[in-house]
Symmetry: C2
Amino acid sequence: MSKTSIPRGTRDFSPDEMAKRNYIFDTIRTVFKCYGYAPIETPAMENLSTLLGKYGEEGDKLLFKILNSGNPFAEVSAAELENSNAVTFKVSEKGLRYDLTVPFARYVVQHQNDINFPFRRYQIQPVWRADRPQKGRYREFYQCDADVVGSASLLNEVELVQMVDDVFTRFGISVTIKINNRKVLSGIADVMGASDKLIDITVAIDKIDKIGQESVLEELRAKGVAEEAVQKLLPILLLNGTTDEKLDKLSDILSSSETGMMGISELRTIFGHLKFFSLPQKVEVDLSLARGLNYYTGAIFEVKANDVAIGSICGGGRYDDLTGIFGLKNVSGVGISFGADRIFDVLTALDKFPTAATETTKVLFLNFGSQEIVTALSCLKNVRAAGISAEIYPDAVKIKKQMEYANKRNIPYIAIIGEEEEKNSVISLKSMKSGNQQVVSLEALIQLLV
Amino acid sequence: MSKTSIPRGTRDFSPDEMAKRNYIFDTIRTVFKCYGYAPIETPAMENLSTLLGKYGEEGDKLLFKILNSGNPFAEVSAAELENSNAVTFKVSEKGLRYDLTVPFARYVVQHQNDINFPFRRYQIQPVWRADRPQKGRYREFYQCDADVVGSASLLNEVELVQMVDDVFTRFGISVTIKINNRKVLSGIADVMGASDKLIDITVAIDKIDKIGQESVLEELRAKGVAEEAVQKLLPILLLNGTTDEKLDKLSDILSSSETGMMGISELRTIFGHLKFFSLPQKVEVDLSLARGLNYYTGAIFEVKANDVAIGSICGGGRYDDLTGIFGLKNVSGVGISFGADRIFDVLTALDKFPTAATETTKVLFLNFGSQEIVTALSCLKNVRAAGISAEIYPDAVKIKKQMEYANKRNIPYIAIIGEEEEKNSVISLKSMKSGNQQVVSLEALIQLLV
């Protein structure tokens, strides 16, 4: 079977899986469009110069690199073979995109003169990572991103939370939308007297759900954060109460940090608007939310399913200088990304896929051979013209085999035009579900199935 | 600007281009579904062992190859550097798919126990070729394929032609659908007494539109086809009249070739059915149609636009042994592939894109700052809940700037909630096209825009 395997960590999608996945994409796309976001697509390959250094050292290793065409090894010397990196970048100038955010930043800079800012764009495309494949982690997977750039207004954050709420409400998935702010995290580092350790602190806090509070403090000590500072973090991690209560207490603790107070003010504005909408889903402030990526500068979002134990199913935040890496300064942006694979798993676990999502063909015309086939084809044409998905079994094999095919394909109706039906210009329509059969005119059949 | 370039032969797609492309994909997908074809997707990367040798020697060179992860050069010796191919296959095990047909054949063999045959599948995904980029030829482009495997019935050919007809009729593009049969080509080689030169003959005939009839004959002589045989080809290339007349004359010429007569019989069956449907588009037999690919064994299709000078915009045919290369014998298949890029160019040339295809947001709410924004956001929520794409300008900048944005984005309506409107619980709705402004209730606004 090795002749027909696919690369590790990649997947084929069958019609049934496609139908479910399209239901997910269509739902997300509908919400994106409803909020004025417009689609773009970027190439699967980017120049390596665009991708390298954007995802940390580990990320660089996880990029899939593409061999140059022609004879890429002609210029490689034996001595160079010692240095794998040098050879790699000599024989490879392109890589597969690792996420949609960096290509989007590149897109904005490249097309800045054609874009109408504020630019709300969405993008639903696969990305590739040479990660070690494991359950639920793939080397090829889709990301569904919506970002707005060129506007610093907090209304954007408010609308993105509304969109997240809208998407999961349409899916029938109960979630908690967690919000934090990187400025608050900076403020915490400030009052800890460890501003220089901000990255270490946020990386450690990000792990609290996985490794627990004591290990977070331990990790900070190991990173050289003074014990006094570590102790100052503890009450912040333990804050409780309503969002307003938490923000009030935090105001007291962070009062000496200008950045921290700005973060609190932003959170208050966002929650103030959200309260007004009384969204169906739970939205809360979560100060332990840090996210690994270091380009966020303001709001941070993360979404967890309430009834399925799985990691974050959606996340995002504001980044004040994403396009700066490509030479365009002062373009603030904020965005969210939906994890289609995990949402697929959650919908499966909760059995929330609508049955209509998996139905393809509505009616199968049986094939009795050359005599009546012309009538069947003529009816078929009319049925399809009415927008009904219909097919005819192409070969005049045993009826039992044709019925089995309809059954396995989940086709709900069978249309029969035999000698008798032909003579009377009617069709026998059989429901595969109930087994009931009725004799109808072509017009009645279309009325029934449309 | 080199910091923000993309690899040669690849493209970014802007919202406007995406809307047009999605119109093309959606139209094709609608027809595929209507005829009972179900979607699948395969990974962008396939094992090189799956791809190599399937597209000829030239095709192997045009495969984009992906470097193995880790340190792929650790095992490469200095001596091996002399042999580019040996190094390539040592450091690279995966390649980007070159078309959708070979991955589909691999899919059918790999999942044969889960598939309900006859299997009608469609697939709309990008493919990659390291071709020299030029006008209209890209290194990344989408293919839109529909194939049915596991049925030898000619009804499949008939339905595929109907689908092609349906797609181009929906686009409003006038086309000619050309049909030939590889068995007829075999028959021609037989009666020429040059059966061993079949490939050379079909490759040469395939070029007749590009290089002319005399050059075709010249090419055959150069390939070592005897002059007597070359002369026998000429009357066949010059056959004219209606389809029935052509097939009648051809019957006389090919009567000594069993294969050739089988091809004629297949063509008669297909045209017999098609005549019955009286399709809107022109369908004709074209004996000069050969297509380069050598895996076709029966019907061959090609579609040309009648009013735009551009190459083939759709093509396909029957292949009796596609899955044989992966060890599964006797699975006959037939399929078609639409060229989305060329269809895009034809629709552009004929100005046939519907305007609705490029419209995204229906109404923009102006932003007057904090006072009235809460009312605007509340209205916005209701407008979106009614399924209307709507947005608010996120920043309270000058109204002129907000209007310019709406204009450039092609947003047809502006909703204004200022102090006066706020007080009277109404909205001023301005049409960007006519310039007319009316004062309406929220309910009336929704009625107008839905």
